[in-house]
């Protein structure tokens, strides 16, 4: 059942919050060892929150919109009285968080029940959630394969039917990549749209937070609940709440939609190109357009990521090198050595590239591109081949997402299942602050059955 359906069932008294959450927790404990999506199960907290919801209902109070709905969060979100580990070993002995993260508080106030924290690449520096400290997260559609990253636990927990919604982060693709390869919907909002207060940072110039769900309706509802200006987060835009759920019924009437080609076709496998074409055909997008110098945008995001991430971790890596993730510690050190000229050029290129994107948005409302160059590959893969060229696997899952998050555009990742294939999603990219347009396009794809998100067949 979707989050919307579960909330309705609780509101109507068909099921109590305690029964719903208990069943959820039992299922997580039973099933999750197969996929390793959870790093922490917050049973006591969840039971206490569920009891409060049931008490409210017994009093005849109006229940908040997510009352009784279980959710989980990537383990870089602060949860009160729990240690925020951000996928790491070095933070395990840190003091517990004294308060929930801002977005967790928003979900709690809406009646959502937090059931736990989710597996991720250490410090969010990865696209595969092959975490050496706690083990890899497995893709429910084929447990020998990656769940994507860095929010792999977010994607896998939903694809396995353990929770209907989750919260993750996306710096270079970490919401969109797991959404794509786990076959679920994900929203990376505009940069600065949602508060990052109470989340462990990775690259402050590029970090976004956002929701995952198995339906566009749920995605829009959760996003709307998360919206709020936050003066504590200086990067959070002080914008009013702009509801998107009410916009979904408009469909794609009046929307001008185009498919991105060039870079997004050259590096895409035939399956990824086909996903993009299927979405374009379903949305009536006859135009194909190119963004200039997308490869340079990706390079610039690469430089900013390494530099900011590396600089932030330098003091800790200096003394705890061996405790860092082998897949990322040398990238952190290398990043900390980034010449200032590279970093500043990369930051300045953002302005130029955003200008080019906004020129396209004068003619189009939504742009379509594959979310990943290919579906999930086997865990442990080191190299992949894309159209005859060899690429280092782990960095390449973000080839299509990185240039878009670089300029902070809002994106919905919509899952496309092609006959006999693993899921591979598309990006529905909108102008700054227009999450509603991307969500409307995703809703249309879902309505037509072109984008769909089912629980993985082995976990039904």
């Amino acid at each position: 059942m979707s989050a919307t359906q579960l909330a309705l069932a609780v509101r109507e008294g068909a099921v109590s919050a305690i029964d719903l959450v208990s069943a959820s927790l039992d299922r997580i404990e039973s099933v999750d060892p197969q996929i390793n999506s959870f790093t922490l199960i917050t049973r006591e907290r969840a039971i206490a929150e569920a009891q409060k919801i049931d008490a409210l209902r017994a009093q005849g109070a109006t229940l908040p919109p997510l009352a009784g709905v279980p959710y989980a969060v990537k383990n870089l979100f602060d949860l009160k009285d729990e240690v925020t580990i951000s996928g790491s070993k070095v933070l395990r002995n840190s003091p517990a968080a004294t308060a929930d993260a801002f977005l967790v508080e928003r979900l709690r106030s809406a009646g959502g029940i937090c059931v736990g924290a989710l597996n991720m690449d250490e410090f969010a520096y990865g696209f595969t959630t092959e975490n050496s400290h706690v083990g890899p997260c497995h893709n429910p559609h084929d447990v020998s394969r990656i769940a994507g990253g860095s929010s792999g636990g977010c994607g896998a927990s939903i694809a396995a039917g353990l929770v209907p919604i989750s919260l993750g982060s996306d710096t270079n693709g970490s919401i969109r990549v797991p959404s794509s390869v786990c076959g679920i919907f994900g929203l990376k909002p505009s940069f600065g749209r949602l508060s990052r207060t109470g989340s462990y940072p990775f690259v402050t110039s590029l970090d976004h937070l956002g929701p995952f769900a198995r339906s566009v309706e749920d995605l829009a509802r959760v996003y709307d609940i998360c919206q709020s200006p936050d003066p504590v987060d200086h990067a959070c835009a002080q914008r009013p709440i702009e509801p998107t759920f009410v916009e979904l019924s408009k469909g794609i009437d009046g929307l001008r939609i185009a498919r991105l080609t060039g870079y997004f076709d050259e590096l895409a496998t035939p399956l990824a190109q086909q996903a993009s074409r299927l979405a374009a055909a379903a949305l009536g997008a006859e135009s194909e357009v190119e963004l200039p110098h997308v490869d340079i945008a990706r390079a610039a995001a690469f430089a900013i990521t390494g530099s900011e991430g590396g600089s932030m971790h330098l003091p800790t890596i200096r003394h705890h090198y061996a405790d860092y993730e082998p897949f990322s510690r040398d990238r952190f050190i290398s990043g900390a050595l980034t010449p200032a000229a590279w970093y500043l050029k990369a930051q300045r290129f953002r302005t130029w590239f955003l200008q080019r994107a906004n020129e396209l948005f004068k003619e189009f409302d939504v742009l379509i591109a594959p979310a990943t160059p290919c579906p999930a590959w086997p865990i442990g893969t080191e190299w992949i081949e894309l159209n005859g060229k060899q690429f280092p696997a782990r960095a390449s899952m973000g080839l299509f997402t990185q240039p878009i998050s670089f300029i902070g555009l809002p994106v919905v990742a919509a899952p496309i299942y092609q006959e006999g294939e693993l899921p591979l999603g598309v990006q529905l990219i909108a102008p700054p602050w227009r999450e509603d347009l991307a969500l409307r396009a995703a809703a249309q794809l879902e309505k037509l059955g072109v984008a769909r998100s089912n629980v993985a067949k082995d976990f039904v």
């Binding site: 110098h293 290398s334 900390a336």
Partner: protein, 63 residues
């Protein structure tokens, strides 16, 4: 900067300035990683940005 010797010298000088001591294996991996990054970043550094963007401030005062 794609000359491997130049990158190795850069890594050694930079880590010295930052008082960062790398064991031999880590040093080699960092040199390889930075070399790879240099190749990726080369087109960015060769790209001509308009002067008004190249000279723009990167910091804005906020209250």
């Amino acid at each position: 900067m794609t000359d491997p010797n130049a990158i190795a010298q850069y890594v050694d000088a930079s880590t010295a300035i930052l008082d960062l001591h790398l064991v031999a294996e880590a040093r080699e991996r960092v040199i390889v990683t930075l070399s790879r990054t240099a190749s990726i970043v080369a087109p960015l550094m060769a790209f001509d940005l308009p002067v008004e963007i190249e000279s723009a401030e990167v910091y804005t005062l906020r209250s």
